[in-house]
């Protein structure tokens, strides 16, 4: 049985068709303008939350990687100090051996070696007092002052400065100077500065026994500094791995977030073209329905 159609219904349905097509076209235009697949959370709430969480994760990882990168420079500076200290120790060792043997042969080598060894000792202290930026690297938490004076007194502390390089993973970025220089807490550790001072005293007094007593300590010094450098290397490797991991994770996260949040330009523009065509068709159809009324024919 045919359904009766009222005049108001024709106008109403035409209007609704045009308005609905217009709304779809506007939505496609908005997407094509921003190239965002998700304009608001209600379009896909779960994906919106995932994309937001990914963006937060990227931000944190970038920051962790940045911190790790800065810390790498601090560790590099520390490594340089230790390398310098090792070189100085090696030179002092050569001079000390020469002084020890020279005295046996009757030459007064001590007298000539002393100024050089003293100079190298002062260089050693200077190296230990090196600052990175305005931070004394070996000062522990007391990083605003020179850790050592020329007498070998220490003015820093054993504060361990750690930074977070990954969620929940903290890595120290400084060395305990007491451990490295005074040998505290180490098996067969040696007080490097005291050993140097013993050598200097021996050279000043031309005491060959004292000179010889300091010689093994110089070897231990080199080993102690080597061990410290190994620890630094370990921390630096951890930093590098963390930076690489963050980089890789962020690439994946950015890709995933992009797939969720960003629209495929080809699809967006083809949807826009389609919706514009539908709108034109709706308007054409409505025009035909609403004009050329059969009533005019009936009333002729």
């Amino acid at each position: 049985m045919p359904t009766r159609v009222s005049t108001a219904q024709i106008f109403h349905n035409s209007k609704e068709n045009v308005l609905n097509a217009k709304e779809k076209e506007a939505s496609s235009a908005e997407k094509s303008g921003s190239l965002k697949a998700l304009q608001r959370p209600s379009e896909a709430p779960a994906e919106w939350v995932i994309a937001s969480n990914l963006k937060d994760d990227i931000s944190v990882r970038d920051n962790l990687a940045h911190g790790a990168s800065l810390a790498t420079h601090v560790l590099t500076a520390t490594e340089n100090i230790l390398s310098q200290a090792q070189d100085i120790t090696q030179k002092i060792q050569e001079l000390a051996i020469s002084a020890a043997n020279g005295d046996i042969l009757g030459n007064n080598v001590s007298k000539h070696t002393l100024p050089e060894v003293q100079g190298l000792y002062e260089n050693f202290i200077q190296a230990l007092n090196t600052k990175f930026g305005n931070r004394a690297v070996l000062g522990g938490f007391k990083s605003d002052r020179l850790p050592f004076d020329v007498q070998g007194n220490y003015f820093g502390d054993d504060g361990k400065m750690e930074i977070e390089i990954d969620r929940g993973l903290k890595v120290p970025i400084n060395l305990n100077a007491k451990e490295v220089v005074y040998g505290e807490g180490q098996v067969d550790g040696i007080n490097i500065i005291q050993n140097f001072q013993t050598l200097i005293q021996g050279l000043a007094q031309n005491d060959k026994d004292l000179i010889r007593a300091a010689l093994p300590g110089l070897t231990t010094t080199t080993n102690q500094l080597s061990l410290a450098r190994t620890k630094i290397a370990g921390s630096m490797q951890q930093m590098e791995r963390a930076i690489n991991a963050h980089g890789l994770n962020n690439i994946e996260s950015k890709d995933a977030a992009s797939k969720i949040a960003e629209a495929d330009p080809v699809k967006v523009f083809s949807d826009l073209a389609r919706d514009q065509t539908v709108l034109r068709a709706a308007m054409d159809t409505s025009h035909k329905l609403l004009t050329g009324s059969s009533v005019d024919v009936l009333f002729k």
């Binding site: 359904t3 009766r4 159609v5 009222s6 005049t7 108001a8 219904q9 106008f11 109403h12 349905n13 609704e16 608001r40 959370p41 209600s42 379009e43 709430p45 779960a46 919106w48 939350v49 937001s52 969480n53 963006k55 937060d56 931000s59 944190v60 920051n63 962790l64 940045h66 911190g67 800065l70 810390a71 930026g133 305005n134 931070r135 000062g139 522990g140 938490f141 007391k142 990083s143 605003d144 502390d157 504060g159 400065m161 750690e162 930074i163 977070e164 969620r167 929940g168 903290k170 970025i173 400084n174 009324s293 059969s294 009533v295 009936l298 009333f299």
Partner: protein, 475 residues
């Protein structure tokens, strides 16, 4: 007399079809009038005479003009319009909340990330005053972010209260009109009139009212409509009872100071807020009490957790001046209002060097407090209950879930609105198919009645000529 009968029948034909033409003209004029129900003139044959054993018809009479409508369809439209009005109000309200929360939530998350990132940077460079300045700035940004989001939500809630107030005014106007129409209709019917226009007006008011709030209807023996909403009578006979709103204290479902809806009665008023579930009023109450208020409570919870957990760690440390036991943010008393009043402590606000990075004084390289605070971002410190089981979230996750939760509501109500719109559109189409005016149909009716009108006039003309002929016979 037979000739007189011809004239009489002709006259009745003219007047009856004239009324039918009037009815058709009325239909045509009202083709686009909202709520108009097409009329039809009911023609009946008049009893004629029996002359010489032959029954001759007495003509036609336009007995009455009736509305063509289906009361059942009308009732269905009213019933479904409750849900449509509710879904529309929820969808529109949630769209606004969603836009606000998405924008503010994204900004707040950025502030959270910036604050903890800057705190992390401070842990790498604890010696510098500049880093503390940056942390002070990002902490201020975080406070602004919480307050902005809180203010936006409270603004939306206040706006809804204003709309609820407007809505009540419109409802009261309609109920008064319905009550007045009840009385007018009864009086017209008592005069044996069929007040089609008044029926149409009342039906239209009922349909419009049904989108405003959900109600039940009943018709008494005199045909007067009774309206009950939220368990209270709004219209009975020619009496109407106004709805009014008052700001009331907090309840489990409603924030302090938000509007409650009452029906006026002899005792003053009866609260009906919880009884109104649908219609625009029900939809707005839902958005206010079931979406915005929980969102505000959620935000307060996050703000409270951020302030108290950061402060708890910060108090352990010391600033560059060596003084400790200071808060970074103002310590909230409880969760309620934590977001609205989120701010830097006066110590930190006035001097960024009071920001603690370490545990010990005179130790510029001490970064333990800055490190511990930055790690709070990873801690799952916020608890929510989902389907009876507790879930733990980080600060960022909690803010994102707040936004996502509003998105879920908006998606659901958007779908409901589209579905309900289709249902009501279909019912309206069905109503239009029965009661709507078709110009083509009326045009044909008009031609039909005009033809009979002309023919009846012709019959009268013939009768007049017959009369003249009879009179001329006497001369």
């Amino acid at each position: 007399m037979a000739v007189n009968d011809i004239l009489d029948i002709g006259r009745q034909g003219i007047t009856s079809n004239q009324r039918a033409l009037q009815t058709t003209a009325g239909n045509i004029a009202n083709a686009n009038t909202p709520g108009y129900t097409r009329r039809r003139a009911v023609m009946e044959t008049l009893n004629g005479n029996i002359a010489h054993g032959i029954q001759i018809g007495g003509g036609v009479e336009c007995k009455k003009v009736v509305r063509i409508h289906d009361a059942f369809v009308e009732k269905q439209i009213v019933d479904e319009s409750h849900a449509l009005g509710g879904a529309r109000a929820k969808s529109e309200g949630l769209r606004r909340v969603e836009n606000s929360v998405a924008k503010d939530g994204e900004a707040l998350n950025e502030m959270v990330n910036k604050f903890f990132n800057d705190m992390r940077d401070l842990s790498v460079n604890p010696e510098t005053s500049t880093m503390r300045n940056i942390v002070q700035s990002s902490a201020q940004g975080l406070a602004d972010g919480f307050r902005t989001m809180n203010d936006s939500l409270e603004g939306l809630r206040h706006d809804l209260d204003l709309r609820i107030g407007d809505n009540l005014g419109q409802i009261n106007t309609m109920t008064k009109q319905i009550a007045s129409l009840n009385d007018t209709i009864v009086q017209a019917e008592s005069r044996n009139e069929i007040p089609n226009d008044l029926y149409d007006k009342r039906d239209l008011l009922m349909r419009d009212l049904s989108t405003k709030l959900d109600f039940q209807t009943a018709t008494d023996q005199r045909g007067q409509v009774m309206i009950i909403a939220g368990g209270s009578t709004l219209v009975q006979g020619n009496d109407s009872f106004d709805l009014f709103a008052l700001r009331t204290p907090e309840t489990p479902d409603k924030a302090a100071g938000s509007l409650d809806v009452f029906v006026s009665n002899k005792g003053g008023g009866r609260q009906v807020t919880t009884g109104i579930k649908d219609g625009e009023l029900g939809g707005m109450l839902f958005v206010r009490d079931q979406v915005i208020n929980p969102a505000l409570r959620h935000l307060d919870k996050v703000a409270y957790q951020v302030a108290t957990s950061v402060n708890s760690v910060h108090r352990e440390g010391v600033g560059l001046d060596g003084v400790g036991n200071r808060n970074l943010f103002n310590e909230p008393i409880n969760e309620t209002g934590a977001a609205a009043f989120f701010a830097l402590s006066s110590d930190v606000k006035s001097n960024h060097e009071t920001i603690a990075a370490g545990l010990e004084g005179d130790s510029p390289g001490d970064n333990r407090i800055a490190l511990k605070i930055s790690q709070l971002q990873n801690d799952k410190v916020l608890e929510t209950t989902n389907l009876g089981s507790a879930e733990h979230h980080t600060i960022n996750e909690s803010i994102n879930s707040l936004v996502g939760g509003v998105g879920v509501h908006a998606q659901r109500e958007g779908s409901m609105f589209q579905h309900q719109q289709s249902v009501v559109d279909q019912l309206n189409n069905y109503r239009e198919a029965i009661s709507g005016v078709s110009l083509e149909e009326e045009a044909i009716n008009m031609i039909q009645y005009q033809t009979v009108f002309n023919a009846s006039a012709k019959a009268m003309k013939v009768g007049e000529e017959l009369f003249d002929t009879i009179l001329s016979l006497k001369r």
